[in-house]
Structures are given as C-alpha cells and as structure tokens.
Amino acid sequence: MEHEALAHHEEHPPTTIRQYVLIGVILAVITLIELWLSYSGLPDGVMIAGLLGFSAIKFIIVVALFMHLRFDSQLFTRLFVFGLALAAVLLISLISLFAFDHRDSRTVTAAAPTTPPAAHGEAPATGGEGEDTEGATVRDQPVAEFFAANCAACHGQNREGVVGPALTPARLTQPDEFYFETIRDGRSGTAMPPWGGQLDEQDINALVTFIKTVEP
C-alpha cells in the first residue's frame, strides 16, 4: 500500500468517492426520468424538448465532473467546446441542406430523363376513367405501361427492387399518403425524383393504388 506523497502536489479534482457515487446516482435517475418521458404520451414538442434538455444535463455533468474539465486547464475546455461547436454547425447545416429539400435537382437530372419533357402544360384529363386499377391510366398510358417505362429502371420490371426498393403490396405497409408524397416530392438523399411537375393528383393516386394492390 503506498500512500505516496503525490496527493498534495498533484491537482486532483476535489471530488470525493461519495460525491462520485452520488453523481452516478443522479445520472441514473435522469436516465429513468428520460425513459418515463418517452412513454409519457406528452405532446411531441414537450417530450423532445425535455429529452434533449435532460440529455444535455447528463452530457454536461459527465464532461464537467467525470472528465473533470471544471477543475482542469481552460485550454482543454476551449478545445473541446470548439470541437462540439463545429459538430453543431455541421449538424445544423447538413440537416438544413437535406431535410427541407424536397426537390433535389441532382436527383431529377440523374433519374428522370425517361420522362418525356414535352407536354408539360397539357390538361391532365385522364382522371375519373377507371376506379379499378386495371383501367387506370397515368398520362393516358395504362399504369403498368407507365411503370415499365418510367419506374422499372430503378424498381425492377417486376417491382422486385433494384436501386430503388421493391414495390409490392406485401412490402408497402405505410398509408397511401406516404407513397403519394414520395412520388410527388421525391425522397431527398435517394435517387427518387419528384414527379409532382409531370403527374397530377389522379395520376399519382393511380400509381399508388397500382403498387399497393396489384401483384406483379
């Protein structure tokens, strides 16, 4: 057992064992509160704010006391905060770049050349013809033909999925609106282009009904 003469001329954090254990208990309790919050059924906004707040508190406690930044050289704090700030800027810029971008021009040029660019303004008088999918049309083409010409390159001739995911009734478990919006607005971060400029509502609905109900 060596109780060396280290103790007094080294800058230890002044925390005692009892205090460390107490901090550990506090962290565990905060985690329990977070768990409760996530099941509490509070409105999403309140819940998310609470969760982010509590995890920020835990984060700060660990960094300040367990990593003893509070008692250590200011230089370390500045370095770490600089790294964190850069990460925050990165997070905010990436999210604003992608999350609010429903019309990513790159994906349009990359994946949409199969669509005839003409006839953009033509009256989409195709609707109302057939409620049953067999007779439904998209831009005056039977749905299946339209799909084969415009969608199959990525989703497969039998909708088995290639670059894009498989589009078969068994796999498409989300509500219709989800697929409607996907076709209309595209999917940012993927090769799926927005079709809202070329297809009207009835066209898109016909496509959604087709992929969700007709077996390939």
Partner: protein, 198 residues
Amino acid sequence: MAAGTHEVEHHTSLGVDNRKLLMWIFLASECLFFGTLISTYLIFKGQSLVGPFPEDVLDIPLTSLSTFVLLMSSLTMVLAVYGAQHGRLGMMKAMLLATILLGLVFLGFQVYEFRHFGHLGLNLTTNQFGASFFVATGFHGLHVGVGVLYLISLLFGSMRRNGLGSERALWVDTAGLYWHFVDIVWIVIFTVVYLIPH
C-alpha cells in the same frame, strides 16, 4: 515506488501535459465524427420506404438497461482514476476490471440487438433506417471495443512489478477521458435514436 516520483513530469510551454492535450484534441475531432453520423441518421429519419421501421424493431426498455450499464461503467472508471490518483492501487485495479466487464456487457447487448434486428429482416442495406442506424451505433460499439482493449492493457500494465510506473495517474486519467467520451456519445445516440419519437 517511493516519493520523488514526480520528477519526470513533463514541462511544456502550454503548461499542460502534451499526452492529455493529445487526448482532448482527439476527442474534439471525434465530436465531428459522431456529429456526422448522427446528422446522417436524422436526415434519413422517416425516409425509409420499406420496413422494418424503427418502431417495429427498437426495444427501448432493453436498451435503457444497456444504457444504464454504460453509465455505471463511467462511475467505475472515475473511481479507478480516483484510485490511481490517490495511490489506492487495489481500488484502481478492481474498478478497471469492473469497467472492462461493464463495457463487455454493453457490447453483449449490442451484439444481441444487431442479431435480433437481422432476424427481423433489418440490415445495413434494407433501408435508410438500417443503413444510418447500424453505421452510427456500430461505430459507437467499435469505440467501446477499443476502450475495452485500452483498459485491458492498463490492467495488465498495472499488474507488472512496477505497476504503471510513476505516471500511473496520468495513464488512467487519459484512458478515463476516452471512456467517458464514449459514454457521452451514447447519451446522445440513446436520446436521438431511441427515445425521441419516430
């Protein structure tokens, strides 16, 4: 191992030990690394066209347990640092061992979770959720694994005749910084991936 052990202390123009400085610079850069992975997860959130979706596979109570395990490993780690700083070597070794074991338990949970998700049909290429989830949590798990090896090397070192030498406190402290960082990354991932509603 007697008094006078601190003659070897490094003197640097910054007034801080350069090895500890290195660790803090490394951790600052790691903020960007995990920041990128978490941003990617958030960007892909809700973008998956096909299942399994997060709400189909994530098991929050189970992950809360593994989160608790990792949190407790931070406590044992800080006690190991305390032992090293105050010359209580028995405590230091016991707490290092406890930290290693808790880290391994956490990894066990993660292996179980990944395999379970695999059985449910979710893997790296299934959808955007799978891709961003496995990359973010997988890299975190990798960090825990590296941390476990790091601590094992310290534990073995401490069992040599000279122990960890006169700079024992610094070595354990620096390892502790890494370990706690891995813990705070998990605090963020647990909140963003598991707790915030999908």
